[in-house]
């Protein structure tokens, strides 16, 4: 038996103080298996020890929230007896080490989180961030990640309908792969993880256990050192086919009345699932490790408990339902084994070859997990930069600037990605990738979910509070732009090393901004995930609080719209106030001398007023197209609408004091572009609602042109927009 030395303790990522706590809880020295269990349960990944304090500040309530953070996924009521279950999760480090399998198993994990709760997954999203296109690993990582996500989701038959892609040098050594799954269940058929019923069987289903990814959870919580690539732990390999069988088998069993509690085995596998189930139910669990289905020979209790083999679930069954359950798993050719029972000891006891190999009181293992309010230093705010100053050094025609923006890595079409994802399977994809939000019909109805993911890290790094507000607001806006009522969000907080006060300052700031926006917009957080230590050799990523938003469309026939221009002769209206804010804009990043200044301020009341106004217009069928304004500003937005609809537009010369470039490329928030065949009533209604609305041009022709300025053909815009990513990925 391995001796527990200070070195072994340190290798398990426990500090001296934390280990003292272990000794206190145990009342004795732990053995190696017990130490392993404490180590994974108290890792950053499982315990949220650095972030818990701050996460509590996020609003999580609303009348439509059925289950907030704390379970496998968040649950909201979407009417008609249906619930929407969703969550986002990171697989950053594994994807950097092995992009295909890392991303694939990330998708597998988040899918299980959703179907564990009884929901059939209906859509996947993915928010991706890579290093600079010129970094030698970027192409390889992007290629591998995208085919891994596609490989898993396509095989599962769940459409991947949208996401994000960004490139920035700050992600050179730490890419971000955040995967989100959205599912639908019956409101009264939601499954939770609290074990109950002393004596009930604890059942293991799915794939067999191998030595996969042992210590993955602790790895996900450590900063990369130069040599990480050398001493990789076993990488997990995904098996989407088995997951598809597991999904169908679980849903089939859930339709019967056999399950008391169910929990997927994610990070820290059997350990975290059994600990969480017993802790939530305030009971004990006794496992017989010899009954665990194993793929490899000679596995030790330590390895069995820490294995991260994929496609496995743990369940507590009602007495007498084992046979019925077994028959279902047999039909789907999956392993099914009773491996233990619920006890009244409130302890996790493990038996192996007749001996007790672990005996831990569950409550303290969970409740006394370390929680740190780490020192934090607020980010010093940059001085704002005026539109005039921002453009003073840029001499470029707006149309020329538009061409280079649209053809840049930051704004070019992501078609190369989404064509590798089956985004139509399940037959309910009403809006495919490319627009503001994906729209997925609720099967068999004419209602739909709208889904988006958003974050602008270059704003967050300059001003975390404003950046946090902006990320939430942009998600809200993207849902609004398709006529959806935004309901709730999930988040994925990707940051650097929390032991640095500046990084905790970014974290605290983003949380503060997000919380304000969520509160103001009635857009609570129902689930989320934290990924820290995204640093390599001391260089951290930009703070990236990725937001996944979900909204509801009442009727896909007449209360939604898309961003494509639909017909010639429509009037184009700009909603929201344009001040020409260029601080941290893409214009400065790509054409000016780099990102400078402060990010655009978010005015939550304008955000809400303008959004509510636009949504009402869409829901009453008054607009022919709608697109929110985000990266790249007004001219980019109009160009995207024109390209998508293959219809040109003529814009008036801006009648303002603002310099032209600032007017066209400023990234002021709370704005939308709409097109309509009947502008007058809209302008009148806007006046009554106190919303800024002005006619900026009309649709038609084959060119995008500005009065007294230059024009470009839509086909030229399209070819610029459409080709960068293809070319980049096909160059050797």
């Amino acid at each position: 038996m391995t001796k527990i030395t200070p070195q072994i303790v340190a290798e398990h990522g426990l500090t001296e103080k934390e280990y003292k706590q272990v000794l206190k809880i145990m009342g004795r020295k732990p053995n190696i298996t017990e130490l392993g269990i404490f180590s994974v349960m108290w890792s950053e990944h499982c315990s949220y020890k650095s972030s818990k304090y701050w996460l509590k500040k996020l609003p999580t309530d609303a009348p439509w929230v059925i289950c907030g953070p704390g379970e496998n996924a968040g649950v909201i009521d979407i009417g008609d007896g249906k619930a929407c279950v969703f969550k986002m999760e990171s697989h950053n480090h594994p994807s950097f080490i092995e992009p295909y399998q890392g991303a694939a198993t990330g998708v597998g994990g988040i899918l299980r989180d959703v179907f564990t709760m009884g929901a059939r997954p209906v859509a996947n999203m993915n928010a991706l961030r890579f290093g600079s296109p010129s970094h030698p690993k970027t192409k390889y990582l992007l290629g591998g990640v995208v085919s891994g996500i596609g490989g898993y989701g396509n095989c599962m038959g769940i459409p991947t309908v949208g996401g994000e892609l960004e490139f920035d040098t700050s992600y050179n050594g730490n890419i971000l792969v955040n995967a989100m799954t959205v599912g639908i269940s019956e409101v009264d058929k939601i499954f939770y993880s609290a074990a109950a019923g002393i004596g009930n069987a604890v059942v293991y289903v799915g794939s067999k256990t191998g030595r996969d990814g042992i210590h993955g959870a602790t790895m996900a919580s450590e900063e990369f050192a130069e040599d990480t690539e050398g001493k990789r732990p076993t990488v997990q390999v995904g098996d989407p086919f088995t997951e598809k069988l597991l999904l169908e088998a679980c849903l089939e069993l859930m339709a019967t009345d056999a399950i008391v509690a169910i929990q997927d085995m994610g990070a820290a596998g059997l350990t975290s699932s059994s600990v969480e189930m017993s802790d939530k139910g305030d009971v004990g669990i006794a496992l017989d490790l010899d009954s665990v289905p194993m793929r490899e020979e000679g596995m030790t209790p330590y390895e069995i408990m820490l294995s991260e083999s994929q496609e496995r679930m743990l369940m507590v069954l009602k007495p007498g339902s084992e046979q019925k359950a077994q028959a279902i798993f047999d039909k789907w050719e999956l392993d099914f084994a009773v491996i233990g029972k619920v006890t009244d000891t409130k302890r996790l006891t493990l038996k192996w070859k007749g001996h007790t190999v672990s005996d831990i009181p569950v409550r303290p293992l969970v409740a006394e997990a370390p929680e740190y309010k780490r020192p934090y230093k607020p980010t010093p705010l940059p001085a704002p930069i005026s539109p005039e100053d921002a453009v003073s050094l840029i001499k470029i025609d707006p149309m020329e600037a538009l061409l280079s923006l649209l053809g840049s890595p930051d704004l070019c079409s992501r078609r190369w990605i989404w064509e590798q994802y089956d985004h139509m399977v399940m037959g309910d994809t009403v809006q495919r990738p490319g627009g503001d939000a994906a729209v997925i019909r609720i099967h068999g109805t004419s209602r739909a979910l709208a889904i988006t993911t958003d974050c602008t890290p270059r704003y967050c790094v300059a001003d975390p509070i404003e950046g946090g507000r902006q990320a939430v607001s942009e998600a809200w806006r993207n849902l609004t732009a398709v006529g959806a009522l935004p309901l709730a969000i999930t988040d994925n907080m990707n940051f650097g090393n929390p032991e640095k006060p500046e990084i905790m300052g970014q974290f605290a700031g983003c949380i503060q901004g997000m919380a304000e926006a969520c509160r103001y917009l009635d857009f609570p957080v129902v689930s989320g995930n934290v990924s820290l230590y995204n640093e390599t050799n001391g260089v951290g990523i930009m703070p990236t609080p990725a937001i996944g938003g979900v909204g509801l469309i009442e009727n896909i026939i007449n209360s939604t719209t898309t961003f494509k221009f639909k017909s010639s002769g429509d009037t184009i209206i700009l909603i929201g106030e344009t001040l020409g804010h260029l601080g941290r804009s893409l214009l400065l990043r790509l054409i000016g001398e780099g990102e400078r200044g402060a990010p655009p301020p978010v005015n939550l009341s304008a955000e809400r007023r303008n959004g509510d106004f636009v949504r009402t217009l869409i829901q009453t069928n008054k607009v022919s197209a709608c697109h929110d304004i985000s990266d790249g500003g007004l001219l980019v937005t109009v160009a995207e609408m024109a390209i998508a609809g293959e219809i040109g537009a003529k814009l008036f010369q801006p009648k303002t004091e603002t310099p032209d470039l600032a007017w066209f490329f400023g990234e002021d928030q709370a704005r939308y572009v709409i097109s309509t065949s009947d502008a007058t009533p809209i302008l009148e209604a806007a006046k009554l609602s106190g919303v800024n609305a002005s006619i900026i041009g009309s649709t038609g022709g084959t060119m995008l042109s500005v009065e007294n300025g230059n024009s470009i053909s839509i086909s030229k815009l399209r070819s610029h927009h459409d080709t960068w990513l293809d070319n980049f990925m096909s160059e050797a």
């Binding site: 396509n154 086919f241 399940m426 026939i557």
Partner: protein, 232 residues
């Protein structure tokens, strides 16, 4: 009229086809589990898309040996119409109901998008509702859709007018630019010699609903229903 949809582990377009059939056929289709060799009497068999057995080894290879497939072959030989879509097409070539095979896309990537295809023959129960030469738009979504057959087989296919669909450009031209996956002669769909079995890579069930972009696939299903219920 009654249709059966063969459900293999890993099928994932089974429900989509079910919905499309329900819109065009009066009685709901039978969802038939692959392990069950007792196929009820039906007028149409559909082998849907998906990733049967994860597409491991080769797409469709393992599902081609499912217990029910022997029965499907038998029915096909007795004249029952069999339609294989995407993975279904792959399964039908693997069990030799259709000539040739489907290889990895030449771009080595999964492709999901709308493509234009041209109806090469309307002399079949599946394509009779289209005009010969008609250009239609349908989504594809596959990894292994590159149609291949040896020269002899290929000329037999052509001589017997068995090519049902070919990928074409927006103006109906069959050329290399319009070939999404490297399929020989841009072949997107093939019939058997008796013309009662069709395999196609495009997904007609994904364009049978106005809300989802197009109804060109509906023509196929409604044509099938008409032809089966009112045979000439």
């Amino acid at each position: 009229m009654k249709a059966a949809i063969i459900v293999s582990p890993g099928s994932n377009c089974d429900r989509d086809v079910q919905v499309a059939l329900e819109q065009n056929i009066t009685s709901p289709p039978v969802m038939h589990w692959h392990r069950d060799p007792e196929l009820p009497k039906v007028d149409l068999i559909v082998v849907p898309g998906g990733f049967s057995y994860g597409d491991y080894l080769r797409a469709g290879a393992m599902a081609a040996h499912s217990p029910v497939i022997r029965e499907v072959i038998d029915r096909a030989q007795k004249g029952v119409p069999v339609l294989g879509i995407c993975n279904g097409f792959q399964i039908l070539t693997e069990c030799h109901l259709l000539p040739g095979t489907l290889m990895k896309n030449t771009g080595l990537k999964f492709i999901c998008r709308d493509v234009d295809v041209r109806v090469e023959t309307n002399n079949s129960i599946f394509t009779g509702n289209y005009a010969k030469g008609q250009k239609i738009k349908m989504p594809i979504a596959h990894n292994e859709g590159s149609y291949f057959a040896d020269t002899k087989t290929l000329s037999r296919i052509i001589d017997n007018d068995l090519v049902a669909l070919r990928y074409c450009s927006g103006d109906g031209e069959v050329n290399e630019d319009a070939n999404p996956n490297g399929a020989l002669l841009n072949i997107a769909g093939v019939l058997n010699e008796e013309r009662n079995v069709l395999g196609m890579m495009p997904h007609p069930e994904r364009c049978s609903d106005k809300q989802l972009g197009g109804e060109d696939g509906r023509t196929l299903f409604s044509g099938l229903a008409k032809a089966i219920m009112h045979p000439l």
